[in-house]
């Protein structure tokens, strides 16, 4: 026997039938009073007929569905069969009448919503939907053999995000970055507001002494280094800078690089060979990750901050490989989560297994810790870590980076084999002079004052945000990561921030995992605490409004 004819109908078909019968029953009552109904036999009959049909349908609905859709009064619907039977009984007709007038409307809505959810009938703006839905990674592996043409799909998405003003990259600053700034977005709109988007933690970009140093270097040496540091790209102040940095981090040998990225990449690539191993914190900066991948296939990405995991991996590696090198790589202050590792343990574990530790201090050196010595200083590790690298781009008001070690041999070797030192134009004289002056300021009492101001604003901002029920990740540092989660929500909030004069960096995949989008609020010494609090209130309101917008545009509430 064919089972299709013997098994009952599928639930949706039955519920569709029930709704149809209900429609007809209600139609027969339209515009009629109870008295009219009672005195019109045909209408009584029609009503009885459709009520019975509804009851029969409810009875056929599967047990599965009834137990699941427990908000539908199935028993009541089933009872429509019997309640309607005695045709002549006025009370039965009255009961049906009041059922359709009072009880049924919400039930009908609930059934309708199950049977054909409202969102299937709603149309959203397709461009906005496209812009809010996709991820950069959707385009990471374009298909096709035309290398140039296959970039177009990604470009189409970027265009959609620009059009909807949800594209966070490449805005243009109209004036120098300060605590307030004016920017133009890609749609050509201009806004002015509190600037959490620039990385200038100590506000040295506006410092008269720094500007003065830049002007003098420009006058003395011209704007151009005109060659690699290995050739003639260095000036006498380059050496002065190396010494100043050596005193700050208490490591004698400093190599300068044209960017922080070049320092991280060059340090790893310069030292690690294909047979060697790299253990790297999952969240370490991209320049280090890419350096590791370029240097060897033996890369282990350990759980963020987990020194026990490092110990275990080192033990495993050493059990099978006693000959080759192991580089352990971590940031000091992590920019995405605003936290830092226990470097004392990490360095001790490295010593135990003959591994080398490289720490990236790009974000913390200068901006926190005693005398601006960063996380190393806070953990009393100045001069006690194998290798330290940093970038000038956060607290030293310039491009550039460095690698510090205790060994002249390491310095010479990385200069030659790191690639990014030898095969790139040296820091310009102006940059060198700026970093030198910044280093002096960082180490001076004025540096302490600037850091105290910076942290005053950091605490005010975190406190006000947390007070509004928002989540600030990590510990107090110049970076305040405000967790949002959903990308769609973050992109919409971003647009509101722009309109309301809060300039902040949105980070989403691939910088953070999917579904963990956030804003990175970068605080500066020139932010006033009151200003930071006011900004936090604007942020809170923008997030509520973005949720409301998404609800009305797409019918989805994102909390």
């Amino acid at each position: 026997m064919n089972p299709t004819t013997t098994t009952p109908l599928e639930d949706d078909e039955i519920i569709g039938g029930l709704l149809m019968a209900a429609e007809k029953a209600t139609h027969s009552l339209k515009g009629r009073s109870l008295e009219e109904l009672l005195s019109t036999p045909e209408t009584r009959e029609t009503l009885r007929h459709y009520a019975t049909e509804m009851g029969e349908a409810a009875l056929q609905v599967s047990e599965m569905m009834r137990n699941w859709a427990s908000h539908i009064p199935w028993e009541l619907l089933i009872s429509l069969r019997d309640g309607a039977q005695p045709l002549g009984d006025d009370d039965a007709v009255r009961a049906l009448w009041s059922f359709f007038q009072e009880q049924f409307p919400p039930v009908r809505m609930a059934l309708q919503e199950m049977w054909q959810p409202a969102h299937l009938r709603r149309k959203a703006d397709p461009v906005e939907e496209y812009a809010l839905d996709k991820n950069t990674y959707d385009f990471f592996r374009p298909a096709g053999r035309d290398l140039l043409k296959r970039t177009e799909e990604y470009y189409g998405w970027v265009e959609a995000r620009r059009q909807t003003e949800t594209w966070p990259y490449s805005r243009t600053l109209e004036v120098t970055p300060g605590s307030k700034a004016q920017v133009t977005n890609e749609a050509g709109r201009r806004t002015q507001g509190i600037n959490f988007a620039s990385q200038d933690y100590l506000s040295l970009n506006a410092h008269p002494a720094v500007r003065e140093a830049a002007a003098r270097a420009l006058h003395d040496f011209g704007p151009h280094s005109a060659g690699s540091a290995m050739a003639v790209g260095n000036t006498r102040i380059s050496e002065e800078l190396e010494q100043a940095l050596a005193s700050l981090v208490q490591m004698e040998h400093i190599t300068l690089f044209p960017t922080g990225w070049a320092a991280g990449f060059g340090a790893v690539v310069g030292l690690v060979r294909p047979e060697d191993h790299v253990l790297i914190d999952r969240l370490a900066h991209a320049c280090l990750q890419q350096g590791a991948r370029a240097a060897t296939k033996n890369v282990i990405r350990y759980e963020h901050l987990n020194s026990e995991a490092v110990r275990q991996s080192l033990k495993d590696i050493r059990a099978r490989d006693s000959r080759n090198g192991i580089l352990v790589v971590t940031d000091a202050l992590f920019s995405v989560d605003a936290d830092w590792p226990d470097l004392i343990t990490l360095q001790a574990v490295c010593r135990e297994y003959d591994a080398t530790l490289l720490v990236d201090v790009a974000h913390d050196l200068g901006s926190m810790g005693p005398g601006g010595t960063g996380v190393l200083g806070m953990q009393d590790l100045l001069g006690k870590v194998d290798l330290v690298m940093g970038a000038f781009s956060k607290s030293f008001a310039s491009n550039g980076g460095f690698l510090a070690s205790h060994s002249p041999a390491v310095k010479q070797y990385v200069k030659m084999f790191g690639g990014s030192h030898m095969f790139s134009n040296a820091l310009s004289p102006v940059q060198t002079a700026v970093v030198l002056k910044a280093t002096e300021l960082i180490r001076s009492p004025e540096g302490d004052t600037l850091r105290a101001k910076l942290f005053g604003a950091v605490h005010a901002l975190r406190e006000e945000l947390t007070g509004q029920g928002l989540t600030c990740m990590g510990s107090p540092s110049p970076i305040v990561p405000l967790l949002i989660g959903n990308e769609k929500l973050a992109r919409t909030v971003y647009r509101l921030f722009f309109d309301r004069g809060v300039l902040a960096v949105m980070v989403e995949f691939p910088v953070t995992p999917i579904g963990a989008a956030r804003f990175r609020l970068q605080v500066q010494a020139s932010h006033e605490p009151g200003e930071a609090r006011e900004a936090a209130r604007v942020i809170g309101r923008s997030i509520s409004d973005a949720r409301a917008h998404l609800t009305s545009a797409f019918g989805s509430e994102l909390v």
């Binding site: 089972p3 299709t4 098994t7 009952p8 109908l9 599928e10 639930d11 949706d12 078909e13 599967s62 047990e63 599965m64 569905m65 137990n67 699941w68 859709a69 427990s70 908000h71 919503e113 199950m114 054909q116 959810p117 969102h119 299937l120 839905d133 990674y137 959707d138 990471f140 592996r141 374009p142 298909a143 096709g144 999952r282 990750q289 991948r293 296939k297 890369v299 990405r301 759980e303 967790l483 989660g485 959903n486 995949f509 691939p510 995992p513 999917i514 579904g515 963990a516 797409f554 019918g555 989805s556 509430e557 994102l558 909390v559």
Partner: protein
């Protein structure tokens, strides 16, 4: 006066009841159903789901009547993967969430709710909980804003009132407790799948098979009574056209996604029940607790079926909430502090990431070129395949597998090439074809 009244006696409710009762609390469970009783679900239990049952001493009873396996077969646009959830990842899961990893098993099982829920109810009774079946709760009793009890109707029609120190809403997606307290739904994700399934006898594929092609998925999983739970799902936008001819489109979907499985079902399969189906699967979260009440399972958050995790999550909640309620009821901790901890586990950052993952999966967009490449890459890396499967089922954290640098490392180490798979031959044309509604007349 009870310590706890639990409304709903299935995955969330009975599991909570049996653990509370075992700790010596006085528990009442009420459910409008009479067990054994079925409820909508395709009832796949991932290994952490069966591990929970094992931790509570119930897995043997389940497996005595239910087939179970360790290896899962996935095929995505013709790229096959097979794997098993690793024990270490299961251990890490339980350690991380519950602080103890006893009872971990690697088996998965597809258990009819008819079987499973009855077993859970019986276990709750054995543990000392009072269970009233056929009992419909019609009102919550409140004093001020504190919920203090329930009013309802017994199977015989008698009206009854009961009071307790806490009322647990384990009453499913359409939760009575949530509706009565007018709790908001938030972070709603309306795009979801439509799912249609039935039970077929007459053939066996051995283990669980889950295949995907374009915007349509099918699954065949051996379940009780020598039957195969056979499921088809696709994007909610295609729902209307699908249901115009359920039986015909069901077979069409099987044939489209896997001609071999389509053929097996057509020629050897005997359908034993009607088709079941629903598109009412939009995801949402609700507040989890308040004065005198707490929600567990689907009542607190419900998601699309596409990753088959709702029951396992109900078990997870049951274990978390009973630990919290035990601490609160016994006075070791203020109740609201304990429940806050329950909430923070359920609403952790990694839980939020998984919620996003399921909701994104539920949109059933065609697999992207890079996703398919990833599946090719995984073919030569069993360890990462296993981790991917564990990640998909919410056993391993998403942030570890789907971290950009991990994906890059994976593809660096690829051994197979995409050349071997037809889907890459003219990928653009294929993707365009996938966008066409398969069920449009």
């Amino acid at each position: 006066m009870f310590d706890a009244i639990i409304i709903g006696g299935r995955c969330a409710g009975s599991a909570t009841a049996l653990q509370l009762a075992r700790k010596g609390h006085k528990v009442l469970v009420v459910d409008r159903s009479t067990f054994p009783s079925d409820v909508i679900s395709t009832h796949f239990l991932w290994p952490h789901g069966t591990s929970y049952l094992n931790r509570w001493g119930l897995l043997d009873r389940v497996l005595a009547q239910t087939p179970s396996h360790t290896e899962i077969h996935l095929v995505n646009d013709g790229i096959p993967l097979a794997g098993t959830v690793p024990v270490e990842l299961l251990r890490q899961y339980f350690q991380q969430l519950h602080g103890d990893d006893t009872g971990v098993v690697q088996r998965y099982a597809s258990v009819r709710r008819l079987v499973l829920d009855k077993l859970l109810v019986d276990a709750a009774v054995e543990a000392g909980a009072e269970v009233r079946e056929g009992f419909v709760v019609e009102e919550l009793i409140s004093e001020g804003d504190q919920v203090v009890g329930i009013r309802g109707r017994t199977r015989q029609g008698a009206r009854v009132e009961e009071r307790a120190r806490v009322v647990v809403g384990a009453d499913g997606r359409h939760s009575f407790v949530a509706r009565t307290l007018k709790l908001p739904k938030y972070d709603e994700r309306l795009k979801c799948t439509f799912a249609y399934w039935s039970y077929f006898s007459g053939f066996s594929l051995g283990t669980a098979h889950m295949h995907r092609r374009g915007r349509v998925s099918i699954a065949v999983v051996p379940t009780n009574f020598n039957q195969n739970m056979t499921l088809v799902f696709g994007p909610s936008e295609w729902f209307e056209s699908f249901r115009r001819d359920v039986a015909g489109n069901f077979q069409r979907a099987l044939d489209f996604v896997s001609p071999e499985i389509g053929e097996r079902v057509r020629t050897q399969g005997k359908r034993e029940e009607r088709f079941y189906g629903t598109v009412d699967q939009a995801a949402f979260l609700r507040p989890l607790f308040g004065p005198g009440w707490v929600l567990v399972g689907d009542a607190g958050s419900s998601k699309d079926q596409c990753t088959a995790t709702g029951m396992t999550h109900a078990f997870r909640d049951a274990e978390l909430v009973s630990a919290a309620l035990d601490a609160g009821l016994s006075g070791r901790q203020p109740l609201d502090v304990a429940l806050k901890q329950y909430e923070s586990r359920r609403r952790s950052q990694s839980a939020a990431a998984y919620y996003d993952y399921v909701c994104t999966q539920a949109e059933m967009r065609p697999l992207r070129h890079d996703e398919l490449q990833l599946f090719v890459v995984l073919r030569s890396n069993q360890e990462e395949t296993n981790r991917f499967i564990a990640t998909h089922g919410d056993i391993a954290p998403l942030s570890e597998f789907f971290q950009a640098s991990n994906l890059m490392l994976l593809s660096d180490a690829a051994k197979e090439s995409s050349r071997d798979y037809a889907v890459f031959a003219d990928f653009e044309a294929t993707s365009r074809m996938y966008q066409q509604n398969l069920f449009a007349a």
